[in-house]
Amino acid sequence: MQQPGRAAEIKANGIGKSFGSFRALDNLSLDIGRGEFLTLLGPSGSGKTTFLMILAGFVQPSEGKLFSDGVDITNRPAEQRAAGMVFQGYALFPHMSVEQNIAFPLKVRKKSATEIKQRVGEMVERVGLKGHEKKLPAQLSGGQQQRVALARALVFEPGVLLLDEPFSALDKSLRGQMQAEMKRLHQETGTTFVFVTHDQSEALALSSRVAIFNHGKLLQVGRPDEVYDRPANRFVAEFLGEINMLPVKGVKSADGGATGLCEDRAVNMRCKAEAIKGDAILAIRPEDMSIAAEASVNQNGIAATAVASTYLGAATKLDLTTRQGAKVTVSVPNEVAASALSKGNSVWLTWPAEKGFLLPDGGQ
């Protein structure tokens, strides 16, 4: 996080943080690649802000080490790490104009007046604040304040930009717009972005990788499609979006995947089955299941009865109950849902083997 203009590579090694007897972070190890857009995703209270504060140097970890470009920075004070940071609530200087806010980190670095003027001007332009330079933060809308905070954090070309739920105070349409701008800024600057959110769709849409937190633990890190399609556990599977969970019995590994009995029918699954034997949970996303009149013997399928539907415009969400009483939700074309519901008797739910994945039974 030192040389300006160069994206940093960060390594967290066994980071832990206790507040009294409370464990806010537990044995967290994470590599953040140069120039990547990493999102920390987790429910409120899962330790995301604490981890970000440790990266910025505002909070000292109780255990573990932090490296930036291979250099141990665990004990380096925040003002020397100089990570760009956008706080929850922005934390702009209320007594300084937009221009003065953005110039602050440059003044601290004793840049010449002409350089400051030029770089602040560029930044103002880049985040679309032209014409607002002389205003105080209190005279700006939430979205504009957000832009000032971004400009102030990026103007000194930090090796890493840390963002703590920057969009949580914005309304939905503005949020979409800011997300697009964020992506653009990431590409233009090439800086490493570490972005915190509790919104899974935001995380999936923006990031090159997502790190999922719960109760102070890092549960999984991976590309958005990886964590969505192959969640490491039940919490990740459920947190990233709606998902169906079906009990399977007699799980056995079989060339690269696994087989088992689901509702007394043989099913094939793709998974790392070494760890899972016997009883387990089969997880399938609603959009990966389809409705069929019948299922052949070597096709994955279970029989179910449609009980309710919710029209969503582009598709319909259909709720079904299986013969053994499990509840399943599928997302299907509108006319398919209508006919399934009108039949009243049972239909078949089918899914491709590679879309079902096994999770350990019970707990996480």
């Binding site: 910025a56 140097g57 505002f58 004070p77 925040a78 003002e79 020397q80 790490r81 100089a82 990570a83 760009g84 940071m85 706080f87 929850q88 609530g89 934390a91 702009l92 200087f93 209320p94 007594h95 602050f104 980190p105 601290v108 670095r109 102030r152 954090a153 000194f156």
Partner: protein
């Protein structure tokens, strides 16, 4: 913030005894003083004319303003330092600071003034000590002059200067200070360019309160000034009780009250009353 009509009536009823007391004890007698200023010894503007021409009265006015200004700077600066410790220090520092702020409220203004005489006089603790370590040979004149008055008044006013500052510092968003540090600013720089400007309303409130209080000081300057640096309140006392010159005393009082009233009006234009406590 505005309550219902009955809420406000209720509040007005609860305030009524206090308002009545203020009217009976201050407003009514003050009207009498105003009347004297225009009627004694003979009706007319004579006393106000004297105010503008009398060298003694003018020098006392100027001294009062000067002392009040210096006391304000000293008190607000000292109070700022104490308040930073009180609001942002470690738990132990906070308790100590709170103790320093509250204890003076339990000791009467007379006791404190005489305490300073004991410390500052020619054979007081400070002079004796400085002489004993050979730092000075002749005692320093620390009391019965403006210096003594300023020390005593500042000591009295610092606790009052603390509260508006504490209120400003408490309402400050901690994350803004973190942001400054994160942007590379040293603690010193953050203090001067972020913390101090963000507590501006507290500084204004604190300075105004101190200044207004200073203008009306009587006991402290009378004791620590030793008759040599008379301030305006003491002058009024002398005019009314020693040289029976009630008209001039009354005219000075009226000018003082009007001046203070104008300052208060100015104060409340910049600071909300709730920021002062």
């Amino acid at each position: 913030m505005r309550g219902t009509l009955s809420d406000r009536m209720g509040a007005a009823l609860l305030m009524a005894p206090l308002l009545l007391f203020l009217v009976l004890a201050y407003a009514w007698p003050f009207l009498g003083v105003v009347k004297w200023s225009f009627t004694l010894p003979t009706p007319g503007l004579e006393q106000y004319h004297a105010l503008l021409t009398d060298d003694l009265v003018q020098s006392v006015f100027i001294r009062t303003l000067r002392i009040a200004a210096i006391v304000t700077i000293v008190s607000v600066t000292a109070a700022y330092a104490i308040t930073v410790v009180w609001v942002r220090g470690s738990p132990v520092q906070r308790v100590l600071a709170e103790f320093c702020i509250l204890v003076p409220f339990w000791i009467s203004v007379l006791t404190r003034a005489f305490g300073w005489v004991a410390l500052l006089s020619n054979r007081g603790l400070i002079n004796t000590w400085l002489q004993s370590i050979g730092f000075i040979s002749e005692p320093l004149t620390l009391v019965r002059n403006e210096f003594g008055v300023i020390v005593g008044m500042s000591h009295f006013l610092i606790p009052f200067a603390v509260f508006p500052l504490a209120s400003a510092m408490r309402s400050l968003d901690e994350r803004v200070l973190l942001a400054a540090r994160g942007l590379g600013s040293s603690r010193m720089r953050t203090f001067w360019t972020v913390f101090v400007p963000m507590t501006r309303s507290g500084i204004i409130g604190s300075a105004m309160i101190t200044f207004v209080f200073s203008l009306g000081f009587f006991v402290t300057p009378a004791i620590l000034g030793g008759g040599r640096s008379v301030m305006i309140a003491e002058l009024i006392y002398l005019r009314i009780f020693q040289s029976p010159d009630w008209g001039l005393g009354a005219a000075i009082s009226v000018v003082l009250v009007v001046f203070v009233g104008a300052l208060m009006a100015l104060l409340f234009r910049y600071v909300k009353p709730k920021q002062l406590v």
